[in-house]
């Protein structure tokens, strides 16, 4: 029986399961112990599993990710946290030049099974250096997988799937999602997770246009679809869930049905994941089904501002999606 719980709690439950199930798993990051993490995600885990396995680290992002790489290639299953995803800027070498490359570069003789968790996104007034959505960087790097769950159930299931994956996984959570609630079926073994990295999910069927979203834009797209429905427009809403690998087939199939594509994410538009979704559609036979140019609803191309109204203007809102969808359908 599914329980109602928050995204943060469902994520914590997944970590608890992994810590219980596999002694090779450990957590490391800044203030993840008694503080419970900047967003309370790891709250209580240090009491349960001890300071050895739920490790507070110094403020040393490069060492945190490097620690994970070294531990992963010698038999551990690290789950490390960047306190805000922006700080991964300090850890791009171990993540991109090391974790992503070792398996290939060393001829396949090593695997790097590690998870880097990082909260991204704006809406909290934390401004330019604490609000970025950087998934596009990671999705561009062969060797990394990139997961962005939108619901409590998915964050639970996909963390387990990330653990089962022998590759380095960048696991991007959105700060505003932590407190959202939903029904969650807790798994009792990681292997029970039904989620697969690389599988999108059609959350709402529709006939007039396809909206492809992920992370925080998934609930916003669903809300927009409700609004659109009352205006007589039936949107099909796809939650991509993972952007590397990207389940482009699901998007293509939907576009063939609806004839219109809108992609939305909070990250800025230029060279974002949305561009990849569009390209993936337009280089296939789905192109022929397009009844109108595609639309992207993305973050404005500025750093994230602090002031509430500025932040709102930069971040795509429900009404932005709705307006763009209407324009697309009525064009």
């Amino acid at each position: 029986m599914p329980e109602t719980m928050t995204y943060a709690a469902a994520l914590r439950a997944a970590m608890r399961l992994l810590l219980s199930q596999d002694e090779r798993v450990f957590l490391a990051g800044e203030d993840i112990g008694v503080y419970g993490g900047a967003f309370g995600v790891t709250d209580g885990l240090v009491a349960e599993f001890g300071e050895e396995r739920v490790r507070d680290t110094p403020i040393s992002e490069e060492a945190i990710v490097g620690l994970a790489v070294g531990a992963a290639i010698t038999g551990m299953r690290p789950i490390v946290e960047m306190q805000f995803s922006d700080f991964v800027a300090n850890a791009m070498d171990p993540l991109v030049n090391q974790a992503a490359k070792l398996h290939f570069m060393y001829g396949g003789n090593v695997t790097v099974p590690m998870i880097v968790r990082a909260p991204g996104g704006g809406g909290t007034g934390a401004a330019a250096q604490h609000s970025q959505s950087l998934e596009a960087w990671f999705a561009h790097v062969p060797g990394l997988k990139v997961v962005l769950p939108a619901t409590p159930q998915d964050v639970h299931d996909l963390l387990l799937a990330a653990y089962l994956d022998p590759n380095p996984v960048v696991f991007l959570e959105h700060k505003l999602l932590y407190k959202t609630e939903g029904p969650v079926e807790l798994r009792s073994r990681a292997e029970d997770t039904p989620a697969r990295i690389g599988e999108a999910k059609v959350l709402r069927e529709g006939t007039d246009l396809t909206i492809a979203a992920y992370s925080i834009m998934t609930p916003r797209a669903l809300e927009a679809a409700d609004g659109l429905a009352s205006a007589g427009i039936e949107a099909e809403v796809i939650d991509l869930r993972t952007v590397q690998p990207l389940d482009i087939d699901t998007v293509r199939a939907s576009v063939k049905k609806t004839g219109r594509l809108l992609v939305t994410h909070e990250a800025p538009q230029p060279v974002g994941v949305g561009a990849e979704v569009v390209a993936g559609v337009c280089e296939s036979d789905a192109l022929d089904y397009l009844l109108a140019p595609v639309a992207r609803v993305c973050g404005q191309p500025v750093p994230m501002p602090y002031a509430r109204e500025l932040e709102r203007a930069v971040i795509p809102q429900v009404e932005d999606v709705e307006a763009a969808a209407k324009e697309l359908v009525n064009a």
Partner: protein
């Protein structure tokens, strides 16, 4: 702000005023936060005022600072306009950053505040670059770089001290050791247990000062600044202090005891201590003291009120704003 000597009557008045202003400013912010008129979070430096003022007082007009996420005090001591600071936090177009920066990003580059920085140790390489710039331009100016005990474990700390060391750059690295990096006790995070000891690794002087004694901070910083200005290179100052408030607004203070906080507050408060000293030394009378307090309080009040009346930051101005 011009240099001031907190061990003289005139300097004492000014330094005390600055320290009270910092405290009242941040207390006012707490109130505004409680009223729900602010956005985001903030990092208060209440209890650490002597570091900001001791350092800033030692700088000449035209010298630079770089600051941190916990930077209100640095900005105020370096002469920031209170109204523009409040305006920034109140999301006004008249704020230092036009409402785009907020608490963590107060900057006034023209006036020598190269900016608060939300990235731990993020301003250390920038301070180094600014110091390089002074050397290349022969300005004779010095950069004071504030950072925390937690920042001392970032790679940027190492690369900055090394670069400043080999090139003898005019930068004074000021570590505000307030005992914690968020929840992490400095002793747990710092191999070797001492930040000031790290100076030796770079062949530069290191000095540990009582960060709750504005005079001690001022004297040591003055020497460091003079040395840097003479072209003799960087120094690392570790100012031992304490933060009374939580790390930020979400802090439940689970990593320390109420007792510890009270201990510091009761016996080592930088304002209490400096006031006692100021009276003891006869720099100011108790009436003058009280005037400082009132002046600080009133300045803060006036600034908040004025800031409230300013126009809001305007979303229409965002187009193209990422680029100069």
């Amino acid at each position: 702000m011009p240099k001031r000597d907190p061990t003289t009557p005139d300097g004492a008045r000014r330094s005390l005023l600055v320290m009270w202003t910092i405290r009242r400013f941040e207390e006012a912010l707490e109130e505004l936060f409680a009223r729900g008129v602010l956005h985001g979070t903030m990092h208060l430096s209440i209890g650490q005022e002597a570091v900001a003022e001791g350092v800033a007082a030692a700088l000449d007009e035209g010298d630079f600072i770089t600051s941190t996420h916990r930077g209100h005090g640095h900005a105020i001591a370096h002469g920031a306009d209170l109204e523009r600071m409040f305006a920034e936090l109140l999301m006004k177009d008249t704020g230092y950053c036009r409402g785009r920066g907020g608490s963590m990003h107060i900057a006034d580059v023209a006036a020598g505040n190269l900016g608060a920085n939300g990235i731990v140790a993020g301003s250390m390489t920038i301070a180094t670059g600014a110091a390089f710039s002074q050397m290349m331009q022969g300005t004779g100016k010095v950069v004071a770089c504030f950072f925390g005990d937690g920042a001392a474990n970032e790679g940027a700390f190492h690369e900055s001290l090394n670069l400043a060391g080999i090139w003898s750059l005019p930068v004074v690295f000021v570590c505000e050791n307030n005992q914690y990096g968020m929840s992490m006790a400095v002793d747990k995070a710092t191999a070797g247990g001492s930040i000031v000891r790290r100076a030796d690794a770079y062949g530069i002087p290191g000095v540990r000062v009582d960060g709750n004694d504005v005079v001690d901070v001022f004297r040591n910083t003055s020497e460091a600044v003079a040395r840097a200005r003479r072209g003799e290179g960087p120094i690392l100052i570790e100012a031992v202090t304490y933060r009374y408030r939580g790390h930020s607004k979400s802090d439940r203070n689970l990593y320390r005891t109420v007792d510890e906080i009270e201990q510091w507050r009761k016996s080592r408060d930088p304002l209490d201590r400096y006031e006692a000293r100021v009276i003891d030394e006869g720099w100011l009378t108790s009436d003058q003291l009280e005037e400082c307090r009132i002046e600080a309080r009133d300045a803060v009040r006036r600034a908040v009120e004025a800031a409230f009346r300013a126009p809001d930051a305007d979303p229409a101005d965002l187009v193209g704003a990422a680029y100069a």
